[in-house]
C-alpha cells in the first residue's frame, strides 16, 4: 500500500503542478477579468453598458467609443444572464445613461440554467450565482470547472499569445471560418454548421426572455436610462437562412417597443451583409468589421446622448 501511495503521489505531483500553473495563467489571462477590472476601475464614469452575446462582443470594440463603456457582452451570452449582470451592477454605475441589449435573431430563444459551462466565470468575476443552489465545489476553480478548455487555453497562450490577445475592455478580435475558407460562399452552402446557425427554437425561453426584457425596459425607464435594442451586422447567408418562425417571434417583440419613449431599436443585421471581408463567420464581425461598426455605433450613441432625438 505504501508503495502504491508513494508512486501515486510521485506520479500525480507533476500533474498537480501543471494544474496549478494552468489555474494561475487562466486566472490572469481572460476577458472576464479584463472586463470586471475595467468596470471596477471606471464605475463612477461609465455612461453606457453593452450587454449581449458574442455577436455584440465582437461587433463593438469600446476602444473606438468616446464615452466610458461597461463591456458586458460575452461569448454565448443569454438574456437571463444579462439580466443578472444588470441587476448586480445597476446600483454601482451612477452615471449610466444608456444600456444596449442584444435583439439578434437568436437572443430570445436561449436561456442558460444551472448547468451552463460559463456560470463559473460569472460567479468568479461578477459575483453572480446562476446555479440552482450554492456554488458547486468544482466551479470554484477554473481548472476544475473545465479542465480541458483551460488546459488548451494555457498551451495556446504560451505557444501563440497573439491569438488570445485582448484589450483593456476585454474585446478580442475574432478570426473565423470565413477567412479560413477564403470567403468562398459555395463552401458555406455545403457546411450546414455555417449555413444553418441558431435554428434551434425554444418557446419557453422566448416567453421567459420577452418578459425579462419587458421588466428591464420598465426598470430603465423608471431610472431614466435609455435602452438601445441592438442587432449587430450579420452576413447575408446567415440572414437568408434565418428560421422564419423564430424571426417572426423576435420581430413581434420589437413591435411592442417601436413607439416607447426611451427605447431605441437599432437593427443593423443587413447593413454590411455583403461585405465579406468584414466578417469572421456568418454571424460575427472580424476586427476590421468591428472597427467600422464601432465607429458608426459611436456616432449614433453620441447623438442619442446629446438627446438630439434623430435616432428614434
Amino acid at each position: 500500500m505504501k508503495r502504491f501511495l508513494l508512486l501515486s503521489l510521485v506520479f500525480g505531483l507533476p500533474i498537480l503542478l501543471v494544474g496549478i500553473s494552468v489555474e494561475f495563467y487562466n486566472r490572469n489571462h481572460n476577458t472576464y477579468k479584463a472586463k470586471a477590472d475595467y468596470v471596477e476601475k471606471n464605475k463612477d464614469q461609465i455612461e453606457l453598458a453593452i450587454f449581449g452575446s458574442s455577436q455584440n462582443w465582437h461587433a463593438i470594440n469600446p476602444e473606438y467609443l468616446t464615452i466610458k463603456t461597461a463591456p458586458f457582452a460575452h461569448g454565448g451570452g443569454a438574456m437571463n444572464i444579462d439580466y443578472l449582470v444588470y441587476e448586480r451592477f445597476k446600483a454601482e454605475l451612477p452615471k449610466l445613461k444608456a444600456i444596449v441589449f442584444e435583439i439578434s435573431y437568436q437572443s430570445f430563444e436561449r436561456k442558460w440554467n444551472s448547468n451552463w459551462s460559463n456560470n463559473h466565470l460569472f460567479w468568479m468575476y461578477y459575483g453572480i450565482n446562476n446555479y440552482d443552489g450554492p456554488v458547486p465545489l468544482s466551479e470554484r476553480l477554473l481548472i476544475t470547472a473545465n479542465p480541458m478548455a483551460y488546459s488548451k487555453k494555457f498551451i495556446q497562450g504560451i505557444r501563440h499569445p497573439e491569438r488570445s490577445a485582448y484589450n483593456e475592455f476585454g474585446y478580442m478580435p475574432r478570426n473565423g471560418s470565413l477567412a479560413r475558407i477564403k470567403y468562398d460562399t459555395s463552401k458555406i452552402y455545403s457546411t450546414p454548421s455555417l449555413k444553418r446557425r441558431h435554428h434551434k427554437t425554444n418557446l419557453n425561453a422566448y416567453q421567459f426572455n420577452s418578459d425579462l426584457l419587458n421588466k428591464i425596459i420598465h426598470d430603465c425607464i423608471a431610472m431614466k436610462i435609455k435602452v438601445i435594442l441592438l442587432s449587430p451586422p450579420k452576413f447575408y447567408i446567415y440572414n437568408r437562412h434565418m428560421e422564419a418562425g423564430k424571426l417572426k417571434r423576435r420581430n413581434s417583440i420589437l413591435d411592442n417597443y417601436k413607439n416607447i419613449d426611451q427605447v431605441y431599436i437599432w437593427n443593423y443585421e443587413r447593413t454590411f451583409e455583403f461585405k465579406n471581408e468584414w466578417f469572421a463567420d456568418p454571424d460575427h464581425l472580424n476586427d476590421e468589421g468591428s472597427k467600422q461598426f464601432s465607429k458608426i455605433f459611436n456616432e449614433r450613441v453620441l447623438s442619442l446622448m446629446e438627446d438630439s432625438g434623430i435616432n428614434k
Binding site: F11, P136, T144, P147, S193
Partner: protein, 478 residues
C-alpha cells in the same frame, strides 16, 4: 456523479482512504462504507431515486430469504414471480409507460379510432435497467438454487448498489459478485496499479474518443438532410466509435475502480470491432447483458436445443428484448431486429462459433480474409447503429437513403482530423493489445518504468489537450 467529473476525482480517493485505512480491519464496516458511498454516489443525481433502489433491492432480499424457507414448488414460483413482477413493474412504469400509451393510441388512430392518451412526465431514474437486472439475477439464482440466499443485508445492499458498476454496469451476477462481499479483501499492489491503468484508458476512450466523436456525430445526425452521402457515412462511423468509447470507457473505469477496492468485475467488452462475424461481435459487445439474456431468457426458452424454427424464434426474442431493454423507442427494436437478422443465418448454418479465438492470433497484422471479415462486420454493426442513434424510424430510413445516394463517393464536407487522430490511437492501441484485458494491461510484461510513465503522461496530456466537451454517458439513459 459522473466518472469523468471533478466530484468523482475527489470522491474516489476519500472512499479509497477510508476503505483501506479506517475500515480495513472490519469486513462489515468495509461493506457498510461501500453501501454508504454508493448511496452518496447515486444520490448525487437525485436522492429520491435512492428510495426506489432500496425498495426494489429489499423485495429481492426478502424474496431470497422466503425462498430458502420453502421447498414447495408452487410457493417458490409465486415468490420468484413476485420478484420479477416488482422489478419489471418498476422498470416498465418508469421506462415504458409513455411508450405503451403512445403506441396504443397510434395503433387505434391508424385503425380509424382516434383516442386521446395520457402522458405522464416520468423522469427515468439513472441506471434503473442495470440494477433491476442485477437484482433479478439474485432472486432467479436463489430460486434455481444456484446461490444460497444471503442473511447479511449489508453485503447484499453493497452487491446491489456497488458504486463502480451501479449505473451502467457491467451487470453482475449475484453468484460472481455477492460472495466477494463475504470475504476479506487485501490490498494487492499489482491489481490496484492495473486498475489505475484501466481507469486511465477508460477516461481516454470516454473523454477523447467518445466526446470528440459525439460533436461530429450529433451535428451530422441532427442535420442529416444537409449532408452528402459520404459525410453521413462518416457520421455513422463516428457514432459507432462514440458509443464504443463511451460505453466501454465507462466499463473500463468501473472495472478499474472496483479493482482498487479488491473486487473483480466481469469483463464487458473484448474489442468488439475486431470481430470477424456478428456472432463474435455479440460475444465481445456488452458481454454482461448478452450473457444475462442468454442465461435468463434464451436458455429458459429452450436455447439452441430445439429445431431450426425454435432456435430462430429464441434468437429473435432475445435480440428484440435486448433492443427494447435499451429504451422505449421503435428504433431500438429495429436495431435489435437488424442484429437478429444478421445473427440468425449464422446460427442456422451452425457457423456462429467459427471465430472463437482472437483475430490474427500470434500475428501482428490480419490476413486479407480476416481484414475483409472485420471490415464487413464493422459496417454491418455501424449500419445497425444508425437505427440506434436516430430519433425515429423515419429519420433512420431517411439517413440511410441519404447515405446510399450518389454523393456517397464525394469528399466529406467536415474537417475531421480532430476526431480521426484519437480514433487511430484507439484502434492501434487496442489492436496491439487485443489478447489482453485492456489496452494498458502490462501485467507480466517487463517494461521500464520511464517508458510506462511516459505513456501514462502522454495519455493524460492527450485527455487534457484533445478531450472533447463533457457529455453524459450514453448508457445512463438506459
Amino acid at each position: 456523479m459522473l466518472f469523468n467529473s471533478i466530484e468523482f476525482a475527489i470522491f474516489l480517493p476519500i472512499v479509497f482512504g477510508l476503505y483501506w485505512f479506517v475500515a480495513n480491519r472490519n469486513l462489515k464496516l468495509q461493506n457498510l462504507l461501500i453501501v454508504a458511498s454508493s448511496f452518496i454516489f447515486y444520490g448525487w443525481w437525485d436522492w429520491r431515486f435512492l428510495l426506489l433502489l432500496i425498495f426494489s433491492a429489499s423485495v429481492d432480499y426478502f424474496v431470497g430469504i422466503a425462498l430458502e424457507k420453502t421447498s414447495d414448488l408452487k410457493k417458490r414460483k409465486i415468490l420468484v414471480a413476485t420478484s420479477i413482477l416488482v422489478n419489471l413493474g418498476i422498470l416498465g412504469f418508469f421506462k415504458y409507460f409513455n411508450f405503451f400509451v403512445d403506441s396504443f393510441v397510434d395503433a387505434f388512430t391508424l385503425l380509424g379510432v382516434p383516442l386521446s392518451g395520457i402522458s405522464l412526465k416520468i423522469v427515468l431514474p439513472v441506471g434503473i435497467s442495470f440494477y433491476t437486472f442485477q437484482a433479478l439475477s439474485y432472486s432467479i439464482d436463489v430460486y434455481k438454487k444456484k446461490l444460497e440466499p444471503t442473511h447479511d443485508p449489508v453485503a447484499y445492499f453493497a452487491f446491489i448498489s456497488f458504486f463502480p458498476q451501479l449505473v451502467a454496469g457491467p451487470i453482475e451476477r449475484a453468484t460472481h459478485l455477492l460472495p466477494q462481499f463475504y470475504t476479506k479483501r487485501t490490498f494487492d499492489y499489482a491489481k490496484a496499479v492495473d486498475g489505475m491503468r484501466q481507469i486511465l484508458w477508460g477516461l481516454f476512450k470516454k473523454i477523447v474518443v467518445a466526446d470528440n466523436c459525439a460533436v461530429f456525430a450529433n451535428r451530422i445526425f441532427d442535420n442529416y438532410t444537409d449532408y452528402s452521402g459520404s459525410t453521413l457515412l462518416i457520421g455513422a462511423i463516428f457514432f459507432a466509435f462514440q458509443i464504443y468509447g463511451d460505453f466501454s470507457g465507462y466499463s473500463d473505469i468501473a472495472i478499474g475502480t472496483a479493482r482498487l477496492f479488491g473486487f473483480s468485475l466481469m469483463r464487458n467488452f473484448a474489442y468488439p470491432y475486431f470481430s470477424r462475424d456478428i456472432a463474435e461481435f455479440w460475444r465481445r459487445w456488452h458481454i454482461s447483458l448478452t450473457t444475462w439474456f442468454r442465461d435468463y431468457v434464451y436458455i429458459p426458452l429452450g436455447g439452441s436445443q430445439g429445431g431450426t424454427g425454435e432456435k430462430a424464434r429464441n434468437t429473435f426474442i432475445v435480440f428484440l428484448l435486448s433492443g427494447f431493454w435499451h429504451g422505449a423507442n421503435w428504433t431500438f427494436i429495429a436495431w435489435g431486429l437488424l442484429n437478429a437478422l444478421y445473427f440468425v443465418p449464422l446460427l442456422l448454418l451452425n457457423k456462429n462459433r467459427i471465430n472463437t479465438d482472437t483475430a490474427a492470433l500470434n500475428r501482428i497484422l490480419p490476413t486479407l480474409k480476416e481484414t475483409l471479415q472485420i471490415v464487413i462486420t464493422f459496417f454491418l454493426t455501424t449500419f445497425a447503429w444508425i437505427f440506434f442513434r436516430a430519433k425515429n424510424i423515419g429519420e433512420a430510413l431517411a439517413f440511410t437513403k441519404g447515405m446510399f445516394s450518389k454523393k456517397l463517393l464525394t469528399i466529406p464536407s467536415e474537417d475531421l482530423t480532430k476526431v480521426i487522430i484519437p480514433v487511430i490511437i484507439l484502434v492501434t492501441a487496442e489492436w496491439l493489445q487485443r489478447n489482453r484485458q485492456h489496452a494498458l494491461d502490462f501485467e507480466g510484461r517487463k517494461i521500464y518504468r520511464p517508458i510506462r510513465w511516459a505513456t501514462y503522461y502522454a495519455i493524460v496530456s492527450i485527455i487534457f489537450l484533445l478531450g472533447g466537451q463533457q457529455q453524459e454517458f450514453i448508457y445512463f439513459q438506459f
